[in-house]
Structure formats: C-alpha cells, structure tokens
C-alpha cells in the first residue's frame, strides 16, 4: 500500500569537500519495518541518517517523509520523525522530566497530552525511577535511554536510531532491542549499528553501506539464507592419496578443497548435505573419521565479504573462509 510508504529516498548524494560521504543511495521504508543500516566506520551511515532527519542537506537527491518532501516542507516532514543521533542530544543541566517535557513542547504536543506522553516514553524506556534526577548524573546507559525516550516521545511515524545500544550493558541491550521490535509494530524504525547479531535479532531488512554506497539491500530472511551452511568440514586421519577424487564421486558433493591438518572443505548444494554418505564411505574405507561438521557462515563473514569486495562476491567467499573458519 502506498499510504504505508513512510520514507522514500532517491539518489542521495552528499559531499564533504572532495570526500563523497554518500553516493547515490536510494531506498524505501514501510510501516512495520525495521531497517538495519550496517557498515564499517566512516561508511556514511550517520551521514545518511542526518540527511533523512534534516540535520544535513543532501548535495543531490530527494527525501520524502510520509509523502512530504523534506527540503520543501521541513517542518511538516520533521514532525513525523524521531531521531537519536550518535551522541544523545541532551541538556545535561536539566532533569529527565524537565528535558522530556521540553521535548514534548518542541514537538508541539498539546498541553493536555504532554504528561501522558512523558509517562509513556519513560515507561517504555525504563526511566520511571530517574525522572527527577539530573541527566548529567545518570550513567551512560541511562543517558542513552533518555535519548531514545526523546526520539519516541511524540510517537513519530519514523524512528531513526543511530547506534542505539552503544554503551549499554547486556541486559539493557536486550531491553532496547525488545523496545525496537515493539516500536516496529506501529512505526517504521531505522537503526544503524556495526553489531551484526543486533541486525539479525531486530531488523526485518538489512542494508549494508560501504564507502557511501549501498552494497547490499535485502530482507533479513534472504540474508539468513545466505548464511546457511553450504559446506562441510571433514577431518580424516588415514586418507588415501586419491581422497579428493573419492570424495567428489560422492553424490551431492560439488567441490572439494584441501585444508591443513588432514582436513577438507566439501561444498554442496543448498539443503542437500551429503554428510551421511561421506560418513558411511569413510567408515567403510577405514579413513578414521575425526571431524565432520557443517560450516556456518557468520554475518561477519558476509559483511566482510560484501564490504571488502563488491566485484566478485562468490570468489572472495572462498578466500575469506580459507583463513577464518578453523573449528
């Protein structure tokens, strides 16, 4: 449905002098989606987010928020966005309540609804206990939560969170992730991170950005599919010299590559592991099977793989895996 299209970004460019921070980025976001922005430092994640939230003007391109052009009508467009930058934008001399009430006013919440908005934001971010305390005296984790509370206090259609779990302890991280999934029920969420499991746990879509360009954009399911095992690691104590040929003759084996310490990588088609047939053959021929395990590719590898070389992904997977996967 087009009415649920909350953000559409087309051909976004942004230079800093000679440096091209964002190059030709386009994407869309609908209600109910959580979009994970993934990329190494300096990839252009924050710049893109700053552009979407109106903190930076793009050198070229268009941003439409709920159908409103951000450059033509910034005030109307910004009313639909809640933004948590990398550094939470806090007035440290104020107390949490004072600060959040100020935020409700900034976002033009009618007076009658301010208290309710404040209570709800505090409750959602676990800030009920710290209302009267000065922001300056709070721990980093709590300050981060105040930053998130600020971004959702006016129930914006779009919540943009730039590295929301930085500086939080594991319990808080889990709470924030739960909060993000909760937010996604009514809003659209964009979050940037370089913590990959975070993306797997919270996002419905992933975009990987590297050197200012989108290099990968897909559903999380497709990403998970890419990560599914398509190879086995086999270890044999007494392998014959003809082992590679022997293995390749097994049904379902696509290719065999020798590794160190009498180990081999066996590639096979998706969802058709020849493990049982290999085990059977190894036992029958007394190869002294020591290891037979499916090789899973972590998101890290896919990430490295995509960001380090966009040209020939399938070739580099092999060379990356060569060094990485041992156990």
């Amino acid at each position: 449905m087009s009415s649920d299209l909350l953000i559409s970004v087309t051909n976004l460019d942004r230079h800093y002098g000679a440096l091209q921070a964002v190059h030709d980025v386009s994407f869309e976001l609908r209600r109910g989606e959580v979009l994970g922005f993934l990329g190494p430092n300096g990839a252009g994640k924050s710049t893109t987010m700053q552009i979407i939230t109106g903190n930076l003007a793009p050198s070229r391109g268009q941003v439409r928020i709920c159908g409103i052009d951000l450059l033509d009508a910034p005030r109307q467009a910004k009313a639909h966005i809640g933004y948590l930058p990398e550094k939470p934008p806090l007035y440290r001399e104020l107390s949490v309540d004072e600060y959040l009430i100020f935020c409700t006013r900034l976002n033009r919440i009618p007076k009658a609804q301010r208290q309710a908005a404040l209570e709800r934001a505090k409750q959602r971010c676990g800030l009920e206990q710290v209302g009267p305390r000065l922001i300056n005296n709070l721990s980093k984790g709590y300050q981060q939560r105040v930053g998130i509370a600020q971004a959702i206090i006016h129930s914006p259609d779009i919540v943009v969170l730039d590295e929301p779990t930085v500086g939080l302890d594991p319990i808080q991280i889990r709470e924030i992730r739960r909060l993000i999934r909760e937010l996604a029920e009514e809003h659209a969420v964009i979050l940037s991170t370089h913590i990959l499991p975070e993306v797997q746990m919270t996002c419905s879509r992933v975009q990987i950005i590297n050197q200012g360009q989108l290099v990968f954009s897909d559903d999380i399911d497709n990403l998970n599919r890419r990560m599914r095992a398509r190879s086995l690691i086999l270890g044999l104590q007494q392998a014959p010299a003809t082992i590679v040929g022997e293995l390749e003759s097994i049904e379902g084996v696509e290719s065999v590559a020798a590794l160190e310490n009498n180990r081999w990588r066996i590639r096979h088609a998706e969802n058709q592991s020849p493990a049982s047939r290999i085990a059977e053959k190894a036992v029958k021929n007394n190869w002294e099977l020591t290891e037979l395990s499916p090789e899973t590719r972590s998101l890290e590898q896919i990430f490295l793989d995509i960001t380090s070389s966009e040209q020939a992904p399938s070739e580099t997977i092999d060379s990356n895996l060569e060094g990485g996967q041992a156990a």
Partner: protein
C-alpha cells in the same frame, strides 16, 4: 509560542549554572557601589549646586552615570552569557535535537536571543530599582529614567545579537566570547578614530556606526528615531546572519 519555549529553556539553563548567578551578584554589587558613591558625591555637591540657576539634579548627576557604567560593564559581561548559545550546543551535539524538531532556524535563533535578552532585561530592571528608590527622597525626572532604561535595553539587545552571531561561527565558547568582546569594544571606540580622520563624511559614518554615540544620545533623553533605527537594524542584521549561519551548517561546506 515555540520561541518562548526555546527562550524559557535557555533561561532555565542559564539559571541552573552558577555563571548567571555570579554575574548577577557581581554586576549588581559593583553598580550599587557606584550608585552609592555617585549619590555621596551628589550630596556633597549640594551647597554648590544651590548657587547655580537651573542646576542639574539627581537624574543627571547620579542616574545617568550609573547607566553609562552599566553599559560599559555589560559590554564585558554579555559575551560570557552569549558565548555558549550555539557553540556549546554544537559541541555537545544537542543542536541535533533542535535541528530534527519541527521548528525553523528562525525560531531557534529568536528563542536563543530572547532567552539571553530576558536575562539581561531582568538585570536592567534590578539596576533600575536603585534610581527608583530616589523617588522617595526627592524629584527624579521619570522621562530621563525611561529614556536611559530604553537606551540600555536596546544596547544590551544589540550586544546579545552580536554575541549570538559570534557563537554560531565557532565551536569554542571562549573564541566566541573574545570575538564578541573585541567586536563590541571596536564598535564602542569607533568614533575616537572618527575624530582624527579629518574627512567629513568618514567622520560622520564612523560616528554613526559607533554603538556608544547612539546610547549617549538616547540616554540624554533626546529621542531621535535614527538612534532607534540604528539599534533595530543592528539587532536584525546579526539575527539574520545567525539564522543564515545556522542554516549553512546543513548545506554544502
């Protein structure tokens, strides 16, 4: 409406820092000291003043000098109040809160201006309490007092506008403070050079630009619209420059 919200926040933050309180205390103390010594001199002069026809009264001899001193002291103090307005927000990143809120740059700048200006207005009112106390003792020229009050208010608003602009130019509050002070002092003493240029029109221009000339003229109770226009132009110029500077942050560098 939004401007007042921003101004109230600015004022609140000012009063939450010890800076505002210490400025209020120090300035008030120094001005009270000056006021008392002026008053003392005035009382000692009474016998001589009786001899002169149409002698100047307390308004000219006590009140006017106090406002003059206040103007000079505030030239040094205002930069301290304005220096953090934008630079500190940029440094701490809190500017992003304002930038991503549904408000315009104009509202941000006017809110900040109004926040510091209302602090200075409060200071001016506290200063004015001292001359007002003279009403108990004898005749005071209310017209002159009003003129002085207005002159100081306009002057302080101009200081604030300039200070705000300087604060948008830098990330370092101290740099903003020293540049504001330098610019204000230059404007203050601009007409000194004007006298020595020799050239008629240059002298006229320099003395028109001098921020002090207009203050002195208004403070004498001579209400001239050109003085008023000077201040209004000055204030609007620096507010518009600030808005443009803040806007330029988002744009191409």
């Amino acid at each position: 409406m939004m401007i007042f919200t921003l101004a109230a926040r600015e004022l609140r933050s000012l009063f939450l820092s010890p800076l505002a309180w210490s400025i209020l205390a120090v300035v008030q103390f120094i001005l009270a000291w000056l006021f008392l010594s002026q008053l003392n001199d005035f009382i000692l002069l009474q016998p001589q003043l009786k001899m002169i026809d149409n002698a100047p009264g307390a308004s000219e001899l006590v009140i006017a000098p106090i406002y003059g001193s206040a103007a000079f002291i505030m030239m040094m103090v205002t930069p301290l109040l304005t220096m953090r307005l934008v630079s500190e927000e940029r440094r701490s990143g809190s500017i992003a809160l304002l930038m991503s809120a549904p408000i315009s740059m104009t509202e941000i700048i006017l809110g900040k201006f109004l926040g510091v200006f209302s602090f200075l207005l409060l200071m001016t009112i506290m200063l004015t309490l001292m001359p007002l106390s003279l009403f108990i003792a004898g005749p005071v020229d209310p017209g002159l007092l009003a003129a002085l009050f207005m002159a100081l208010t306009l002057l302080l608003a101009s200081f604030t506008a300039l200070g705000l602009y300087m604060s948008t130019l830098t990330l370092q509050p101290t740099v903003a403070a020293i540049s504001t002070f330098g610019a204000l002092l230059l404007l203050w003493i601009l007409d000194w050079a004007g006298d020595k240029v020799g050239n008629e029109s240059a002298t006229g221009l320099l003395s028109y630009l001098s921020i002090l000339r207009h203050f002195e003229a208004l403070g004498k109770g001579m209400f001239n619209s050109s003085d008023l226009i000077y201040y209004l132009l000055f204030i609007s110029l620096f507010l518009i420059l600030s808005i443009r500077r803040l806007d330029a942050d988002r744009l191409q560098h």
